[in-house]
């Protein structure tokens, strides 16, 4: 069946809840309202208010009680209404969920999933578009997953729910309903920590994730049309732990790389990928790794976001520059 990402996520949640009693869904407006994007639609009707419930409007409370539930033996899936509000729960997330195993030297663990929509391009209010994945590279103990399409979304969410450690699952708002893709009815896993090569090529490696994968694909198409260059496109799928092997193998082959991310440039995912390439395949590198990203300012107002977000044309220009001898 063809599904949107919302439908695929909803199905993953429903199937995991059917399979495993320990899985519960909690957050603001996730019950009757089915979440502001309807990802949890009909789950409360199906599984009851005990397993799918609205919480008070308090992100730290959501995160902190989810930690307790996970330690106790449930598998909470906590929705934060927009990723920008993860900051409100930051301590519970990075000092608590991320460290329960560490702090207890392995006696307790915190198998929970934090779902949150993020991403620009859809004219949302302030802090509804921010990309936070880069922050979590510096806060050890968390896994971070970002699917780029409905098929991946389902398989990755299943793996996130089954993971024995806390996973932040970031869902790009622009991708929620814009693409319909064939998604199998049955349950399946896509393993965490493994990137996908969505297009093979030999001249340059494009590394991206989330909504930027489509931007990369479009840019690749534009460049190919113009110059015939053969571009490899990597979709990270899991941001952390990162699939360094796939990145390095590709760049060793192509000798050139462009990274695309809608997050601010400084010190985030794009910086870490650059550092990985520098450390592991500098001698294969023919040109500086290019970063096409948001700028080092807060995410702008809707009316200015188009100038902030990477566009296919921006990426294409970076590709062309990086392809120059």
């Amino acid at each position: 069946m063809k599904m949107t990402m919302i439908e695929a996520l909803n199905q993953a949640l429903e199937q995991e809840m059917s399979k495993d009693d320990r899985v519960i869904v909690m957050g603001e407006d996730v019950g009757k309202n089915g979440g502001v994007f309807r990802v949890t639609d009909r789950l409360q009707a199906r599984f009851g208010e005990k397993r799918v419930f609205d919480t008070p409007l308090a992100e730290s409370g959501i995160m902190g009680t989810a930690v307790g539930m996970a330690v106790y033996g449930l598998r909470p899936i906590a929705e934060i209404q927009f990723a920008g509000f993860l900051y409100v729960s930051m301590n519970q997330l990075v000092s608590q969920a991320a460290r329960m195993r560490f702090r207890s030297a392995g006696v307790y663990s915190c198998p929970m999933v934090v779902r949150a929509p993020y991403g620009g391009g859809v004219r949302t209010p302030e802090l509804h578009s921010d990309s936070l994945e880069g922050v979590f590279l510096q806060t050890p103990g968390l896994k971070v997953v970002i699917p780029s399409n409905p098929y991946d979304a389902k398989g990755l969410l299943v793996s996130a729910i089954e993971d024995p450690d806390p996973v932040i699952f970031l869902e790009n708002i622009k991708l929620y309903r814009s693409v319909r893709l064939e998604v199998p009815e049955e349950r399946y896993n896509i393993p965490l920590g493994k990137a996908a090569i969505v297009q093979e090529g030999s001249d340059l490696t494009l590394i991206s994730y989330g909504a930027m994968v489509a931007v990369a694909q479009e840019a690749a198409r534009m460049v190919k049309e113009k110059s015939g260059a053969s571009l490899e496109i990597i979709d990270l799928r899991t941001i952390w732990p990162m699939d360094e092997e796939t990145i390095v193998a590709s760049v060793e082959k192509t000798g050139r790389a462009v990274i695309i991310s809608e997050a601010p440039r400084a010190g985030g995912v794009s910086a870490e990928i650059t550092a990985i390439i520098n450390e592991q395949c500098l001698y294969s590198l023919l040109k500086p790794v290019a970063r096409v990203t948001g700028f080092d300012t807060p995410f702008p107002s809707p009316g200015l976001e188009d100038y902030y977000l990477p566009t296919p044309a921006r990426v294409a220009r970076a590709i062309v520059e990086t392809l120059e001898a």
Partner: protein, 359 residues
């Protein structure tokens, strides 16, 4: 606040005027002209909000939270304030900001999805999106005013849902400890998106939160402009005279959807809406004013129409104001952009210069 005072207040929200515009208490001392101005503002707020909703539907405005039902709290929290006083509110407090002195054209301009234009003199903090957060800023402003010895009152406005956030409670605690000249206005409109008030907290009235922080509080009928005004005025006078903070819970109702992105039929009943529609704040004030002879039916109708036109004019002004250049973001981050930001500005300008076709 003694326990005796506490138990007396628990029965029903404070009212001065009932839903048919009949006085059941002593109205606050407001000059007739000011009262008519306040009434007019309620019309403007409703018309303005409806205009933005319509613009959003046409794809011309960004997400908007309707102000319908909030007209008395909007005006009632702002009207007793002095120009030097401050307000910190959320998207739902645009009406209060308007009455406090913010240009409505600027509010509409912001709804185009552009960086806002605030008049510094209006003393309204930028609209807060992160629920609950602004209340601490209001307390900080109050503390600062007290440190400097300024006769300033700071008002923090938020919704019922916001009271669940840690920040709201920390704000009450700081205000109590530092006896800051702050008014907490909890605009309880019954819902936090789809979460009804009784699922937000096990307590009967949110204002009772004040008990545990040593902050005096009052529960008022938020559709009764007199009750809101009188209570805010009393709290403001007290704060200005060194008497410390007050927590005011105003009971009203969100007559519209949560925002233009929301579909309330998924979670609430028409009956409830009908029930509250009867209690809406403009009607009762109209009945009162006509009854008192301050307004004729004809004048009332004219006023409503004038404010429709006013709202349209304001929107037109907003939509005729040129937007800032795309690279404004580099000036808005720090007073002086860093060299790196300047390089990124060039990058942005180059992106603008090169057409999409010619990458």
């Amino acid at each position: 606040m003694s326990i005796q005072e506490l138990s007396a207040e628990l029965d029903a929200p404070f009212q001065i005027m009932d839903e048919n515009g009949r006085l059941i208490g002593t109205p606050p001392d407001i000059a007739d002209t000011k009262l008519l101005e306040m009434y007019r503002a309620m019309y403007f707020i409703r018309a303005f909000s409806n205009k933005i909703v319509a613009l959003q539907r046409q794809g011309k405005a960004t997400t908007w939270g309707s102000l319908s039902g909030h007209e008395a709290t909007s005006v009632g929290f702002a009207a007793p304030l002095e120009p030097q006083d401050w307000m910190a509110g959320s998207y739902r407090d645009a009406g209060s900001y308007y009455f406090k002195g913010l240009s409505p054209a600027n509010i509409a301009y912001y709804q185009r999805g552009l960086p806002p234009k605030y008049e510094a003199g209006a003393n309204c903090l930028p609209v807060q999106i992160v629920i609950g957060t602004q209340v601490l800023h209001a307390v900080g402003i109050g503390m600062a005013a007290k440190i400097k010895g300024d006769p300033v009152v700071s008002v923090g406005l938020c919704g019922d849902g916001a009271t669940s956030e840690g920040d709201f409670n920390e704000a009450l605690n700081f205000a109590g400890v530092f006896q800051a000249p702050v008014i907490f206005g909890v605009i309880n409109n019954g819902w936090a998106i789809s979460l009804p008030r009784h699922k937000q907290s096990a307590v009967k009235w949110l204002a009772m939160r004040g008990v545990g922080f040593g902050v005096p509080y009052k529960i008022v009928d938020g559709n009764d402009l007199f009750a809101v005004y009188a209570t805010v005025k009393e709290a403001a006078d007290r704060a200005r005279n060194g008497g410390g903070p007050t927590l005011i819970e105003a009971i009203t109702y969100r007559l519209g959807a949560h925002t233009t992105a929301d579909d309330p039929t998924r979670y609430r009943e028409q009956e409830e809406l009908d029930f509250w529609q009867e209690k809406e704040p403009i009607k009762r004030m109209r009945l009162y004013l006509i009854n008192r002879g301050l307004l004729t039916e004809a004048e009332d109708k004219a006023m409503a129409e004038e404010e429709e036109i006013h709202a349209q004019a304001v929107v037109d002004e907003a939509f005729n104001t040129p937007p800032p250049p795309p690279d404004a973001i580099f000036e808005m981050t720090w007073q002086t952009p860093s060299p790196r930001m300047e390089r990124q500005r060039s990058e942005l300008k180059r992106n603008l210069a090169e057409k999409d076709g010619e990458f």
